[in-house]
Amino acid sequence: MNTPITLLRAILGLFADDLGFALSVLAIVLIVGVLACLLPGLPELTGALLLTGCVAMLIGATLRSDR
């Protein structure tokens, strides 16, 4: 009976077991998406922002994580 729910939780957990971290990554993508629309002639800037944003999220989440 619980198998579908267990499976669904496991599948969702593949992408978002840390909801705050997942939302932060989505926020970065959203901001970069808006900037890419506003500044279509500056792919280096928006691209660099996407990369540094993701690395910054990784650094923040890794430094905050406890046992």
Partner: protein
């Protein structure tokens, strides 16, 4: 093509090792029948998922596909990378196939003593493990292969990993605990995160100046960040300051 095949192979290797541990525990406690039945049912379900998803992918515009898969790759890859860093730094325990095997055996034996329908429960355990790990393999193959004509190449990488694990597992008949899972997860986390940045960017209309070589640059950035983070977290642990 090589990064996609390598990512699919390494990621699938880790996932198949994890599924193999549970299936082996089921086979050890209850015999081959429930283990094979659960595994076969799961593989049929996975085949159905692939058969449904495959044609759907062709109908989605490339840019939208890149954006959706890129975001999922970022979520998936960064999560793997973060956990691999924390494991390498000793913050969270390493994935231990021997311990997982023993825990699964213990659980199945307790279910036996409580008079449950053990064959059914054991088959369900094998089914769950193969579906969850198999879906990860399917996602990774689609993610690194779709949209660039590399689905078959990525699938071959994944199938090679399955064949390798099954071959070694059949010979050893014990959990493959000597596979350096965390190192593999660290490497795959880097590759998937790099693919994720590239695909998300392209999905957002960003034309990367170095084209596909950008992925290597992104991987180098994530690798540098990962190595530094392991050092920092290890130093903090040694100093006794978790934060």
């Amino acid at each position: 093509m090589a990064p996609a095949v390598t990512a699919a192979f390494l990621a699938s290797l880790v996932e198949v090792v994890e599924a193999f541990t549970i299936v082996l525990a089921v086979a050890t406690v209850r015999g081959l029948r429930p283990a094979m039945l659960g595994t076969a049912t799961a593989l049929v379900l996975l085949a159905v998922v692939v058969a449904i998803l495959g044609p759907l992918l062709d109908r989605i515009p490339l840019q939208a596909l890149q954006l959706v898969i890129g975001i999922l790759l970022l979520l998936f890859g960064l999560r793997w990378l973060k956990k691999a860093i924390l494991r390498a730094a000793g913050i969270i325990p390493l994935h231990d196939e021997d311990r997982i095997f023993a825990a699964e055996e213990d659980q199945l034996e307790r279910q036996e003593s409580s008079g449950g329908h053990l064959d059914w429960l054991a088959g369900l355990a094998a089914f769950n493990a193969v579906v969850v790990e198999g879906l990860e393999v399917v996602f990774i193959v689609i993610a690194v292969g779709a949209g660039r004509g590399l689905l078959i190449a990525a699938s071959i990488g994944a199938l090679a990993a399955c064949a390798l694990v099954l071959l070694i597992g059949a010979l050893l008949r014990k959990p493959l605990s000597r596979v350096p899972e965390n190192t593999l997860k660290f490497a795959v986390g880097i590759m998937l995160s790099a693919f994720g940045v590239a695909w998300t960017g392209e999905g957002l209309g960003i034309a990367w100046p170095l084209r596909d070589f950008s992925i290597l640059l992104f991987a180098a950035v994530f690798l540098s960040a990962g190595v530094c983070l392991i050092s920092v977290r290890r130093a903090r642990e040694a100093a006794g300051t978790p934060r």
